[in-house]
Amino acid sequence: MYPYRRLIFRSLKSDRFGMDVTTTRIDLLSQVMDAAALRHKVIANNIANVNTPGYKRLDVEFEQTLAKALSTGVPAAEVKPTIVQDDSNAERVDGNTVDIDREMGQLNQNSLLYTAASQILANQIAQLRSAITGR
């Protein structure tokens, strides 16, 4: 669902200038982690409101804006995740649009995304450290 693989691949492809690009890649990864953390907050809020009559589920919009920014050449650092109301789900009798199974799926998906980004970031920093220490 999220076009991360493509984005990370693209940022790897443009990696031609050593140090400079490494810092931007670290920036990009921490941005992804920030977005995933915000999405976790939003999903937790949706789960908390699973029995609130009239509650409309919220979602985070980040991947699409980031993909657009990367393809049009806008600096990726300016892309901020935004919380939007999601109207794609069907309403229940009480006007609530939260589907608990879907939320749990999204929760797991989002936590995997966060894990992946944090591990890649840790690798990047380890590489940088080994370049500095020369070991």
């Binding site: 982690m33 995933a36 953390a37 915000l38 976790h40 907050k41 939003v42 999903i43 937790a44 809020n45 789960i47 908390a48 409101n49 699973v50 029995n51 609130t52 009559p53 009239g54 509650y55 919220l58 919380i83 939007v84 109301q85 229940r92 009798v93 009480d94 006007g95 608990i100 939320e103 749990m104 929760l107 797991n108 936590s111 966060y114 894990t115 944090s118 591990q119 970031l121 840790a122 920093i125 380890a126």
Partner: protein
């Protein structure tokens, strides 16, 4: 909803569930039973507006108390009627199940949050 397709037990549970939803909606409409409220309200949602839910108060169910004709009962009134509690066991069980499932889901979210925090800290350790 299509009642014909489901079996008797499901029908019963769904009807109870719908009754429950109607109760909640009716209560929310007249403002007397506001057990849960959406914090943050309408408008553009922000990260600081995500505050989940909170219990506002515990309220009494104002629905009618059933009266049973039992003249031999010690609590019977002058006409022989006993005022029974307005607790419907099936509805209470449905409520209980709904609440415990919601609790489970929230625990899962909290566990995931802990995992994410641990992973962020692992970057420092590496």
């Amino acid at each position: 909803m299509n009642w014909e397709k489901s079996n008797g037990r499901q029908q019963h549970i769904r009807r109870l569930g719908n009754q429950l939803l109607r109760d909640v909606r009716g209560a929310a409409a007249n403002g007397s039973h506001r057990v849960m409220d959406q914090v943050g309200g309408k408008g553009n949602p922000t990260a600081s507006g995500l505050k989940g839910v909170e219990a506002i108060e515990i309220v009494e169910d104002q629905s009618e108390l059933p009266k049973l004709f039992m003249p031999s009962h010690p609590e019977a009134d002058a006409n022989g009627y006993v005022t029974m509690p307005n607790v419907h066991l099936a509805m209470e069980m449905v409520n209980l199940m709904t609440a415990s499932r919601a609790y489970e889901a929230n625990v899962k979210a909290a566990q995931t949050f802990r995992q994410l925090g641990e992973q962020a800290l692992a970057i420092l350790r590496s």
